[in-house]
Symmetry: D2
């Protein structure tokens, strides 16, 4: 797999534009990212599902829509939505623009081959007469979208088909593939995933592979590590406390599967101006405290950070939270993160995470993160005992709040608001 220094960070068009994002919007968000978020580490600009569907309007799909594709059944951006793709240029012009900003460009794909290609029986590029019907997998369909059939890995020409699409994407300059209808489809589609992943890794261009949708299957963790850079541990995540609350349990189970270049993915961050395709005034329903909880959990776990909102509408809170120095450091340097305990104390449900903090040079550890969440109950003063972390804190060791930089002491108890959390860094001598 492609080795990455940290979990991917960027923007994805789904939470704000569903299946209907347009080139203008992508360019505007890329520009905003370059101006305001690049320094904090964000770099991927990802066009989500159905960029090949001329009639897309929102988060719903049109069943059996006619899709733009070339003579080899390879999907192409719909020129009415992506004008620079006109004349068969694909995403090359848009990717060039993104690259010109010092950023990277990504697209979404569905596992398999378009049903329209099967209907027309288009030839598979690079084969001697093998056509779409020869490789389509009869009974393998996505249950929530009609664009594709699966590809049967046992059929001659199957790998050639995947080679052909990744060659096309490489020629456009794509840096990131979010592949859908595959992550939670294991084990029955495992062979197709392996074939797809190998084709991508051999296409001649480095591309991150992101597997969707979740929930991923824990017993298949080694398969995900081998084939993908990130994989969704949850079904679609939105701005609802119940979903965020449920993420603690998923994060606990998946924490040990984080490593260099492979990251359990808690899904996009539904912050700021999401759901724009329905309402230009729409805004996340998460409270500020809930957003802090989310960022603390995603960062200590080292989940990918893909912003879901229309970034150009970010308010100060949103931008500050997304670029908070202490959070970004934890996202980069957290190692061996895991939940320490989850228990009721009085009327509160307290969840404690810890992680050690790597030296920037990777030659040791210089501190330890402690993140405490108030997952249920009212605002509370919470007791954190370093002994429960098997740590001794001596007077010459500093404890700071990672988001504010303030020095604190565990001796007095930690004030944590309802549905909020706080993160601390204990710096070793």
């Amino acid at each position: 797999m492609l080795r990455l220094d940290r979990a991917p960070m960027g923007w994805n068009s789904w939470d704000c534009y569903g299946a209907a994002v347009t080139e203008d919007t992508v360019r505007a968000n890329a520009k905003y990212m370059a101006d305001h978020l690049k320094d904090a580490g964000y770099e991927y600009v990802v066009v989500d599902i159905q960029w090949y569907e001329p009639g897309s309007e929102n988060n719903e799909y049109h069943p059996f829509a006619d899709l733009c594709m070339d003579e080899y059944g390879r999907l192409l951006p719909a020129p009415n939505r992506f004008p620079s793709a006109e004349g068969g240029k694909g995403f090359k012009p848009l990717a060039d623009y993104v690259h010109s900003l010092g950023l990277k460009f990504g697209i979404h794909i569905m596992r398999g081959i378009p049903r329209g290609a099967v209907s027309r029986n288009t030839p598979v590029l690079g084969t001697d007469g093998i056509c779409a019907r020869d490789i389509a997998k009869t009974a393998s369909i996505c249950v929530w979208n009609t664009d594709n059939y699966g590809v049967d890995p046992t059929k001659k020409g199957a790998r050639a088909y995947y080679d052909s699409i990744f060659a096309l994407y490489a020629s456009w300059g794509v840096d990131f593939i979010k592949c859908d209808d595959i992550c939670r489809e294991l084990p029955h589609e495992e062979e197709e995933l392996v074939m797809l992943s190998e084709a991508l890794m051999n296409c001649g261009r480095d591309m991150v592979l992101s597997l969707s949708p979740g929930p991923a299957i824990i017993d298949k963790s080694e398969v995900y590590k081998k084939t993908g850079n990130m994989w969704r541990i949850t079904d679609d995540f939105w701005d609802d406390w119940k979903l965020l609350y449920a993420m603690f349990e998923r994060a606990e189970k998946w924490s040990i599967h984080t490593g260099p270049g492979h990251y359990p993915d808690a899904d996009m961050l539904p912050v700021g101006a999401i759901r724009q395709v329905y309402d230009k005034d729409a805004w996340t329903a998460f409270t500020e405290n809930e957003q802090i909880t989310m960022m603390l959990l995603w960062c200590v776990l080292r989940s990918p950070l893909m912003i879901g909102g229309e970034m150009t509408k970010n308010d100060d809170f949103t931008l500050d939270l997304l670029t908070n120095k202490g959070l970004m450091d934890m996202h980069k340097l957290s190692r061996h993160a895991h939940q320490v305990y989850r228990r009721h104390e009085g009327d509160n449900e307290i969840i404690l995470w810890t992680a050690v903090r790597a030296d920037e040079d990777g030659c040791g550890y210089n501190g330890q993160y402690v993140v405490v969440f108030n997952a249920d109950g009212e605002d509370a003063k919470i007791k954190v005992d370093p002994a429960e972390l098997e740590l001794t804190i001596t007077p010459d060791m500093k404890v700071t709040d990672i988001m504010t930089g303030d020095e604190i002491s565990f001796d007095d108890g930690i004030a944590v608001a309802k549905h909020c959390g706080r993160g601390f860094l204990i710096t070793f001598r």
Copy 2:
């Protein structure tokens, strides 16, 4: 819970004597431990199941046997097997002896109340006329042993009964309770466990609480942490490669639940002269390589280390392995241990674990453990890439084999025998 510095280490009579251990043997093993193993950290001497059964012969139980008990239905050591218990003195004389050696004394109990006490309807000590039949739980029995009924936590007198037995054990000087028929019986017996644990913690004497049998239920990890110091993550473990091989998966799942005073327990170490009750010449069927695999996994995971064999018959290999300085250090100082990957490389199945190494004073970390197992296939040279641990090894950092102390380099690949493993310590600058 009782806070412990490290996972309990000691000896348990089951693997060598089943339900039939006698006082002489316990004394001899305690003496051996004091002489040969105490310095390495071993301290608990534990008398396993049915010390109250005069007729015990081996690992089989006599159904519905008549058990030694006092007028309150509290079990007493069978004097024919434990002569010093004669005259109602219980385990006090034996515990005194163990303490005199600088060691600690433990016993096994079954959850619940003796069926014989229910049959005689003995009074519950400290209550006003409540008797055994008032608190016995009608349909709660152990499926593999007929000694006890469960105790119904909703019944008046139930807690008093548990208070009465722990008061007795405290008066004897017991330091360690291995409670059986309870660990894998969650969630349906969860309330009885909580009651039992609270009674123990309030008995006035510090006692380790060990929960058996396994496999423990992962979704109940917080219950185990709250009630016990160690809990079995497996059914009875014996000297069979298949069982050892299966432990990798259990260890992976449970690794994040290790902490100060609460340890997932991979069960006794079936080393040396086990099964003595059947054959005085019996010896573990594990190869030396398999025993090394076991010790490496138990120590990096920080599982309790309870020796299962008749220690006085230890050969040099066994004693050396059990007291190896590098292993003992890892068992004490390993933190945040977890499996990094498990994958096939050529004909071998390779499992890699890592952990950071705490400073002795708990104020930081001074190195990182890497343990590599060759879990399937023949002897092999295995490639270990520090980058997969997100580590950089500079020339001024030392890498040593923890069992031999030899310096090594990962650059050349690591020779690991079939079914064996090797552990390394990377020392930070």
Copy 3:
């Protein structure tokens, strides 16, 4: 198996007296049966559970109560409840009385051996030193009653124990055994059932064997046929429409398993003065229509008819219903009964059953039963089409209402009240 002419009919003490029936009451009900029900076919007088428990008060059991038993661990009637049993005479005097009325006598037993016998380790009669502990099955208990342990069929002496109890019951003159904790315990207790049944069939006296509790397991129908004369197809049935409504589905599934001497058992009839042990004025909560539904279903299915109420308090409706000539004939002569359909017609749920009617001499069939139930909705006029029964009704064939004897015609539709049913006999030319 004992061959019977029809499904057993009689009285059982459970619905009115729970575990606390006394000799006086049994005698009074036997006398009443002889006077008022014997001519209709009722003949079994059955003493239900815990006749050996001196302290029984109602439908609740006293856990771990001391039970009356002989030196071989065989239970004996509690003399304080059954005075004629004094002096070790057992049920012989009471059975003699029942026989003197021209009736038959039955008792209830639990599978297995008393826990008290195991506690005392009583010898098994007819063996050379085998005792209760040798044959008790360690982990086989009834989850709702503490009287017994199971008996392990693989142990020497197990069969001898069952032989010994049936020999005792035969010496008393018992004609009917209702064995509990066995019917729905298949398949894990199947071998104990087979052993018990064989012991009973070889005891030298004809006894009906009734298996309880339900629901029986449909895939084990051949086991029930081989071992028992009747088996419960339902958990305890009481005077609640929901339970009666649910019986239609059970009856449909079990209908094909009725045959000579083996009858699926829909449980006792909770009619008249039930629950006497709690309230002398208690009366069934079933409406008259519901009771008619019950009797029609039980009779067409040929379920055993065991009256549950204190019969001496029967009112006219109850006695008339229980002895209705047309119902009794159907119960005796119904053959090949099965549900024809169950469907919604307008607001009603209609269930139609049919059966052919045997000649008394068994040499042919002289008519066909049709039973129509209005299982949901209000009173309705229901269309019954003989063609759905694959029957042609010619003018010279008579159709009568089996409960009133009135001639009717299907042409006009059949008036059936809510939650009621009507049965018809089509007499062939």
Copy 4:
């Protein structure tokens, strides 16, 4: 539902020609049926799956093949295989020919609408602009064939589509529809089945509706009765003893659901020259005894009898068996059939069925069928006791072997060969 006098009998092209039958072959088999089988009751000539696929070769389907259809997405016979269909005449000429022989004509269909129609988005006949994509059900596909998508019953135009295809089939003169991908797809496709069945019943022509594939779901028996005339109780049945042996259990469960016009269907009879599409010399692997077992079970159960072999190659045994007078009578007159018992006797597994025999005029019963099977073990003499049937056989009652007409007596035991059966008729006085 269409009321039928007896379970459908006829011929189906699948077992001999798979998806590749041609007009010549159908005509030849129809002619043979008229000449040799019509008198015995056979009348339906059914063209099985993919008559609309020009390229069909055998029992395998070509995924995503181009199918013949009209401008409304309604499938048409492939003229290269059915020349008389040329010019849009459909099956009318072939049906006319079959009718001219005094027989009836049937075809196979798949639930739903052709994927090709969805691809072209053909209009739905009789609607104002509704097209295929409006009614196709996104995620409803057949897992073993790619011809169709399901139709979504909640969509406007869905019923109109089904009306349009049955109008076409009625115009051709179709008498029998075998609908596939629907029987075992309950409950999730129940609404589509109901809609389809209603459309068929309202199309203006009587057509038998046969539901496939099995196994049908027993809890949905009333749905099948309401919507279909016959439904498959098994997956595809072939000439393999294991499949035949397994049918006993299915037949037992479904026996009570047989009635006028609705028949549990044990599938085609794989007799004679089956698998012709692979090998012109192919012949059933069933022994003669196994074929007798099959015919006895199908006939007593009143399963439809659809011959699977190329009839023109029938040998004497096959033709005689298929037309045996006693079997045909039992198939027509059996009523209330059910299994009596299934048990081991010595080394044999004996299965006994019974049914009563209706008068031809439907006004009573004139005899009783008894069928005994030797389902496991060697040839044996089997004891049949009329008392187990609750029958008395007097000297003036005749017992005959239904296949030979020979009089027999149960007193002597019945010789039954291994894997064979014998059927008897007890004629009432």
